[in-house]
């Protein structure tokens, strides 16, 4: 059971870390200064959440594991983030849409996780929830602005939906370790938050004048370590320093 719980925690941590890393690529490249800072703030929030999860996982793992070894020294197949968070930033609209889809998910997940029996996970969820609630508010407004904006912004949002929607199915497909943790009472049953996620997504999309795709073939695998080709590049950049100069310190 312990290994399943560790995998589940790593899954939560990897989602936050990889999305934070992706968002951080905008640092210094945002469309305007204010949004550049907003994006960087979200990035830092996510990396902070990842650290809390990694520290907890490391304490369960023992054997010299730390938050750093978990983030910097695992290989691609050992990462359990879902495919959605590792996708390209694309344009601002695509980044925003990715953020909205995942923030919507994280908000429901963390809300539910607060009342589950693992006290440490519940505490991390409670702390992260305030940040995620803002991410959701911010990204929802942007999806509406761009979807309901100019013809070009609308078309770009359609393209972003076309690119990203196929990765949303995985959010609600439990991995084996997740199912085990749900039975144990430590993990959130994804079936219980799926309806609400769809409802909120539909609400924002409808206000934005964007269609919710139907009958799309969903790609999965990330939670089990089978990633898209993007993941290797992300880790190459993320882990470069520790790989090239092992144990390098600031």
């Amino acid at each position: 059971m312990k290994q399943e719980l560790i995998n589940y925690i790593l899954h939560l941590a990897d989602n936050a870390l990889i999305l934070g890393q992706r968002n951080a690529e905008w640092c210094g490249h945002g469309p305007v200064l204010e949004q550049d800072i907003a994006m960087t703030n979200i990035s830092l929030d996510l990396i902070g959440q990842a650290r809390n999860f990694y520290q907890y996982a490391a304490s369960l793992l023992g054997e010299g594991a730390t938050e750093d070894t978990l983030a910097y020294l695992r290989t691609e197949r050992e990462f359990r983030n879902c495919l959605l968070v590792e996708q390209h930033n694309g344009d601002w609209g695509q980044t925003l849409l990715r953020q909205f889809l995942i923030s919507n998910f994280q908000q429901l997940l963390y809300t539910a996780l607060q009342t589950h029996k693992d006290r440490q996970l519940a505490a991390i969820a409670e702390k992260s929830l305030k940040e995620v609630t803002y991410h959701l508010r911010w990204s929802s407004e942007w999806v509406i602005r761009l979807g309901d904006g100019t013809r070009e912004s609308h078309e770009r949002m359609l393209k972003a939906i076309d690119t990203l929607w196929r990765y949303t199915g995985e959010l609600f497909e439990p991995a084996a370790y997740e199912t085990a943790c749900v039975q144990d009472g430590t993990a959130v049953s994804l079936a219980t938050i799926k309806d609400e996620w769809q409802h909120k997504t539909g609400e924002v999309f409808s206000e934005a004048g964007l269609p919710v795709p139907e009958n799309i073939f969903m790609l999965t695998g990330g939670k089990m370590g089978k990633h898209t080709e993007q993941m290797g590049y992300i880790l190459a950049e993320l882990q470069y320093l520790q790989r090239a100069y092992p144990n390098a310190q600031w």
Binding site: L33, E34, I37, A38, Y134, R137, E141, R145
Partner: protein, 120 residues
């Protein structure tokens, strides 16, 4: 290149619709300027902390949250579009402010304050 220089005082631009900017590269595609006021804690006044660009008031408040409250600076935010701020004219500083210079008797410094009054 029809841009010609015209002098405006900060914020006080009668016909300008896009906030405090007059000469812009792209004209209407730029967002207006907003002034940001932050209250650092309950009971204190909102203080002017700076300005930023945003498309509307909702975005201005979120931008202010992201730009000006990252280090726990505030508990409340006001924003106002810069074009609604009217400023005194620096050229008139002499007649506006200098007459007060030699009127020290306007300061309440000629009284002996009791010790109990310690917040003056």
């Amino acid at each position: 290149m029809n841009n010609f220089l015209k002098k405006f005082y900060y914020g006080d631009i009668p016909e300008e619709q896009s906030g405090g900017q007059y000469v812009t590269k792209e004209g209407k595609s730029d967002w207006p300027l907003w002034e940001v006021f932050i209250r650092s804690k309950q009971g204190l006044d909102h203080k002017h902390v700076g300005s930023l660009h945003a498309a509307d008031a909702a975005m201005a408040i979120e931008n202010a949250r992201d730009v000006y409250t990252r280090r726990m600076e505030g508990v409340s935010i006001w924003v106002v579009e810069s074009k609604y701020v009217h400023a005194s004219n620096p050229d008139e500083a002499g007649s506006l402010y200098e007459p007060a210079n030699d009127k020290v008797y306007r300061h309440p410094t000629f009284y002996q304050l009791p010790d109990e009054v310690n917040k003056m």
